[in-house]
Amino acid sequence: MTGFEHRLDSLTGRPLRRRTLLGAGAGLGMGAAALSLTGCGGNAGSGGRETIVVAIVSNPQMQDAIGLIDHFRADHPDIDVRFVSLPENEARAKITASVASGGGEFDVVMISNYETPMWAENGWLADLEPYISETEGYDPDDFIPTIRDALSYEGRQHAVPFYGESSFLVYREDLFEEAGLEMPEQPTWDQIREFAETLHDPDTGMAGIALRGLAGWGENLAPMNTVINTFGGRWFTPDWEPMLNSPGVVDAVNTYVDTVRTWGQPGAATSGYGECMTQFNQGNAAMWYDASAMVSGIEDPRSSTVVGSTNYALAPVMETDYAGWLYAWSLAIPETSEHKQAAWDFITWMTHPDYFRLVGEEVSWEALPPGSRQSTYEIPEYAEIAANYAEPTLNSMENATQENSMVHEVPYPGLQFVGIPEFQDLGTRVGQQLSAAIAGSQTVEEALDQAQTFAEAVARTYGWEA
């Protein structure tokens, strides 16, 4: 040992070991090897197998599909399916970025009737008509017609629905009976307010009604827009004049905000779909107006304490015949996909009438993806379970058109959303203003004046001038 090494030992408190250095070198080598190994990523198949990547929203019905994928694999041993499953907002952002920039990571994407017509117009989605017509037993006429129209561009389907929804009202039949109230098949907002006033009881923790207040174009704006529609309000006139502080909109928003502030659930300004669901499931709300997909939570004894004491009514109206919204989580193939046939084979499996039987038998009949095919409601096992809500769901969906649910003409598609690309941003900012009104930090009029200035900026890009 040299003098130097001696001194070193006394400094570090342990003898020098060659192994330490060797170890460090080996670690680096391993890192380099890992780098070169992972360098061959991508979705190239091997040995004639094709790998498709499917981006979906992680809602319960989609999780069931992931759980059942072995059935697809058994029929298609040459197709390997990889899922990317994310919550709604993240999935939407990721899928939009990928499809819009031609990133090409995905072979199947889950989008809604908001994106489909816009993306089809941009040429980002494959036309599915040729695939649909060549698939035996697929029966596209079985899809609920309003949904099929909403997923078509120039009469050609560019996405197929996995499950669809409208909006309706759930109420506690037991509480209504106790109070001697009767819910009409299609209530008006005035009636809803009377019921809410009667049943609201803060002492027992019972809210008259649960309504969303959480800011977001897919959160508070969704139910609120159906109220705006039925009160005779609209976002834009056919020549793109913004109408957010016009009397129809002001009346509608005042009604909504006043209802939820007076008889709504606690913390309304931060309640989204999930929070409202929890309130209702825990027996803390007498009514709830929201997506018809709510039944999968409300009627599930594992998550709900009110199973058996609920009933359903159509979306509350004022000046229109109907007021329900229309939304469908659907599957589409981006133009960039290099595995379109395999992608379609997968889509066929997940949206075929046979899939519904599979879910019923393997998962449960309650778990059926609702609102895409009319034949779903003819399956005896499902019809029995869905006796309470099948009729209002189908009725709402079949009548969810602009003709039925709006007083005035508008230049955009959509009921609870404005079908323009700017709406994600515009809607969220308007939603924030309205959420602040629900929280009480500003008046409805102030919120709508601010919303109007946001809408004016968008309107200018469509050629409107003040």
Binding site: T38, G42, K94
Partner: protein, 266 residues
Amino acid sequence: MSKILTTLAWFAAFIFFAPVLWMVMTSFKQEAEAASSPPTFFFEPTLDQYRAIFSSEAGSHFLNSFIATTVSTLLVLVLAIPAAYALSIRPVKRTQDALFFFISTKMLPIVAVIMPIYVIAGNIRMLDNLALLIILYTAMNLPIAIWMMRSFFLEVPGEVLEAASVDGAPLLMTMRRVLIPMVAPGIAATALICVIFAWNEFFFALNLTAAEAATVPIYLMSTMTSEGLFLAQLSAASVLASLPVVIAGWIAQKQLVRGLSMGAVK
């Protein structure tokens, strides 16, 4: 007085630890119990959530995270240690400018550059590729590692280095046998920070990976849903995701407590 302080300290510790405890407790609940309001404190523990995770595709996410974290951390150390040496013990020209340049790369919000990175990655067909994450994590952690390592090098007494050169040790040997053992606690601390940042990194992983290269934070996200209950499953996944960091911290702690260059110069 000291009793009150001790009680206060325990209380503060409990407040800080309570969310973690709650997460662990929730991971042993059924979904309905996890979502119940008011919360349930007494329940029949179940391993269902952990079983669900082990039967899912979580394994590939953990493997991806492990590779991305380990390789990027090793690369960072290999690059940062010589750089920090050149910026502290043998300062090169314009050291301050170089240091400022390194840290300035952290000043631009990632969200501002994600689209260009995404488009470039798409063009060179590197999307959903673990190598891309490794490069980005290395670049992301390098400035911090250089600054940290530099501060540790500055603590090394010059006399020790002089002694080494008097003993005839060449530069590489001095680095290998004097400097690095002396700053080992610093290396451990730096490595730990890099491991934590890389393991928990979410934004790049969310935007640049899909099925092949997705990491653990993406898996955590995928257990969440906007319709339906997920708290118990998410808690179980979070417990598993935290374990590697806890273990890394425990390993690094052994190095950290040894103290810096205590007693090196008498």
